[in-house]
Symmetry: C2
Subunit: 330 residues, 2 copies
């Protein structure tokens, strides 16, 4: 229904049958068509959820209490709402909607709540990203290219991982300086490399309300061993991804649904020649991967195709505004 | 789909097309059938919302930030998530689902975020509920009966209202003792009465994230003048309601959608006889209403009918568990 076909709102005498339409009429004064559309859809789904399930006051108050606790436990370095979004599969879904990939591009996955903005910038390749003496040393030697195999130089690459105990630096109350994270630049031939440690599986934070939800659902808290990578380069779509170690006990049951077969890797072994070239021990572990970034233009086209398919499925007349769908009211 | 017909979850390689089903398979280990059903429906609606709107990462992160702020501003005496639920019409909807009323029962409305549990208990009728010297005195003289008109004695009745400036006691940082609220008992013939002040319209708290949302939506913050009542009596369905003053400028545009025609009243005038009987000034304002409580049994039957209609509309096989629908997996 468009604004034009809507009557004046009837805000009195609202019932389960007429409230949704009238709340949306009231909200329709919003001058931003995208906000208006998002609110209309959110209200429709929230109300349908309550009507379909016959949601009780007690259940809704428990939900209010849960959401309040999720908000309360958030700090500058802990984002429990992102964790909630992660364990409900919503984070992966939004990434796949916003960053669709052709078969030739590296797949994306969940950002997770542990990326920070204070990682040290490495001006040259070869730096040490993890200083944990208990971690098993691992050379990371990768390339970043476009989908046609052409190297991309000077891409900005955020990398981050846990320490050998499965904790990110930000999870330590006494953290003084960032560790296990860095911002790098790809060099000539799209190569970037650094010294890190072999990732380990770890539990997502389970002492908060999201942990309580997982316990209630009889789900485990673990993520399989992985290493995070995030790429930025003008002209290319932002890529948030991670590499997963094959054979991890949680490879098939990641608590946040991030694993994709194309991102699962076997660790290699540093050869004698590589040991000399990169200044690490021969025989130590090696993580290698060739990342492929998709152009912004190709991403835009893919998103447009998928958006059109989605609204045709709903039988709606839509148009794109800044690349995002809004109702076509003409 | 029932658990029996579901295969093992495929938690790897999730895409926008297969993630919802697989998240729900993972969540289906929950032994509580009602929780499992609520989670399944919540995940379905959340994911459908993202897919239908082509939700962007930026939009989702703004939502995460908004929800975090809603949680952060909550205190023991401020519940911003209830306020959010109120302004989206969800609170009124849930009340109408959980407390359906036959035509003979008093309609319910939103509880709002300002009910507290520390109101003074008045052991006798006739007490003073509001001590605000700037308020216009109002005698409240009501009865509570069943739907056949039989008086209900000894019902527990919570009443609450703002002061003359439109603020509830709990909104004052320096609040020392409750005011503008009380817990009463109906006497013989179901009568209850007390001294209060004429309600005034007031803005819901607009200095938090929900206020920001209303501003973005170009909505006003006002609730029309009203007085809250909540009834409890064994054997009768809990009634949360309020009375609204006819002619209020916000009667037709309540920010939280609570007004119902049957709850809108004209204030009367205290007669000479009433002035003597109730110890108030002749000619002062009078709020009178006959409330009708619905039995638990009648409410149960109404809820069951409406639940069955809702699941038949969805074409689902359901059964009731403690009065609430769950999928029928037999």
């Amino acid at each position: 229904m468009t604004d034009e076909t809507r009557g004046a709102p009837h805000v009195k005498n609202l019932t389960a049958d007429n409230i949704t339409e009238n709340v949306n009429i009231i909200n329709s004064k919003c001058p931003n068509p995208r906000s208006k559309y998002l609110l209309e859809k959110a209200v429709q789904h929230l109300h349908d959820f309550a009507r379909e399930t016959r949601l009780s006051t007690e259940e809704w108050m428990m939900t209010i209490k849960f959401l309040t606790e999720v908000g309360k436990i958030c700090t500058d370095v802990r984002q429990e709402f992102i964790l909630l979004s992660d364990v409900l599969g919503l984070s992966l879904l939004v990434d796949s909607i916003d960053h669709p990939k052709p078969a030739t591009g590296t797949e994306g996955t969940v950002l997770g709540p542990f990326h920070s903005h204070d990682a040290p910038h490495h001006t040259e390749n070869g730096g040490t990203v993890s200083h944990d003496p208990d971690g098993e040393p691992m050379l990371v030697l990768c390339t970043v290219r476009d989908t046609e195999g052409k190297p991309i130089q000077d891409a900005k690459i955020d990398v981050w991982e846990t320490d050998s105990k499965g904790f990110y630096d930000v999870q330590y109350a006494n953290r003084e300086t960032p560790d296990g994270r860095a911002v790098l630049r790809s060099g000539k031939d799209g190569v970037f490399w650094f010294k890190a440690i072999v990732p380990v599986p770890y539990p997502i934070p389970s002492d908060g309300p999201v942990g309580g939800l997982l316990k209630h659902l009889r789900r485990h808290y673990y993520r399989p061993s992985h290493f995070h990578f995030m790429f930025e380069k003008p002209g290319y779509d932002h890529l948030i991804t991670a590499l997963y170690l094959r054979g991890d006990p949680y490879e098939g049951s990641d608590a946040v649904f991030g694993v994709k077969e194309s991102l699962v890797v076997d660790l290699g072994t540093v050869s004698s020649e590589q040991a000399g070239e990169y200044g690490v021990q021969e025989g130590s572990r090696l993580l290698s991967y060739d990342f492929a970034l998709v152009t912004e233009e190709e991403t835009r086209q893919l998103k447009e195709e998928k958006a059109k398919a989605a609204w045709e499925k709903q039988g709606m007349r839509m148009r794109l505004l800044d690349g995002l769908p809004v109702p076509d009211v003409d």
